[in-house]
Symmetry: C2
Subunit: 188 residues, 2 copies
């Protein structure tokens, strides 16, 4: 294991750089993107609402799995959203996939920064890690096709924000999840 | 509700800015910091290992609560680490508080960016949100006192990274959580 300069060997042995953590993030993200795009039929079938509460995991080897949550509590890592299978048949499929994507993005970020904290990242290291992460489209953007719109928009963020807002509105306004979120964030 | 410029009224009604989401983040973070610092005795007592699996929530009104996880699955928002009370008596108290802090930081970030995705944030909006978040010390840094060391270090990141690495090593090497994490991230 490579270290990052002077200090005890034990510290270097257990320290990772933002680039290391980003590689883990990118691999997990790749696995989840597969689940929600190229493997979506298989993913859909595995998310049987008749089964127990399932989670979608992206793994460091760029694969994905749908399985029960970690048995150990508290878990070793932040856990993905629980019970994604229960919402499957209560929503339009593309809305459900978008919901899973948004939760997956949140989980990927939490895992990356959990690693960052465990490896002693300071403010600058966190910034570096986030910059690398933010240079990739989110899983949500990939799944909804927003990633393609953003790369074509001639006038950067304002147009893509509106595009994203309209996509979000389309996907969420009729979802039972949207109104509680608006109330939740309004109350702060 | 204020909008952010032209477009359909419905879009504006349900759109929030990075500053709005950051305010929610900051308030939740403040609640959690209280739980792990000024209110730590009460927090400790509430995390009874004899109870069911409990979570620490930071609320948008700057308060905290220790309670059972959301009943609804999948949940409306990303959930905090489950069962923090089960680890309480198996660790040195300050190690346990640090573990809770690290999980809390991961949760706070996941909630903020989940909101960001639901409100259609593009890359630049995400960057703005993260910058505001990253300008605050993490809960972990506050709880372990690293926040004070970083503000005093004359030569910014390199020294604070080593300080953080040593704090991390001290806290985690003897924790059963550390070795699986190292193996986990090594395999990517």
């Amino acid at each position: 294991m490579d270290g990052e300069g002077g200090g005890a060997a034990a510290v270097h042995h257990n320290t990772r750089s933002p680039e290391d953590v980003f590689r883990d993030f990118r691999a997990r993200r790749a696995g989840i993107v597969k689940a929600l795009t190229t493997d979506v039929e298989k993913f859909y079938q595995m998310c049987d609402p008749e089964k127990e509460n399932l989670c979608l995991y992206g793994l460091p080897n760029e694969t994905w799995e749908v399985t029960l949550p970690a048995e150990e509590v508290p878990p070793e890592l932040p856990e993905p959203a629980l019970g994604i299978n229960f919402a499957r048949d209560g929503m339009i499929e593309k809305d459900w996939l978008s919901l899973v994507a948004v939760h997956s993005d949140a989980w990927l970020l939490s895992v990356a920064f959990y690693f960052g904290a465990r490896f002693g990242f300071d403010k600058d290291a966190r910034r570096r890690l986030f910059t690398m992460i933010n240079n990739l489209p989110t899983v949500y953007e990939v799944v909804t096709g927003v990633a393609k719109k953003q790369s074509k928009a001639p006038n950067g963020s304002s147009k893509s924000s509106k595009s994203n807002s309209k996509v979000s509105k389309y996907l969420w306004l009729k979802s039972k999840y949207m109104l509680p979120l608006v109330r939740c964030i309004t109350s702060c």
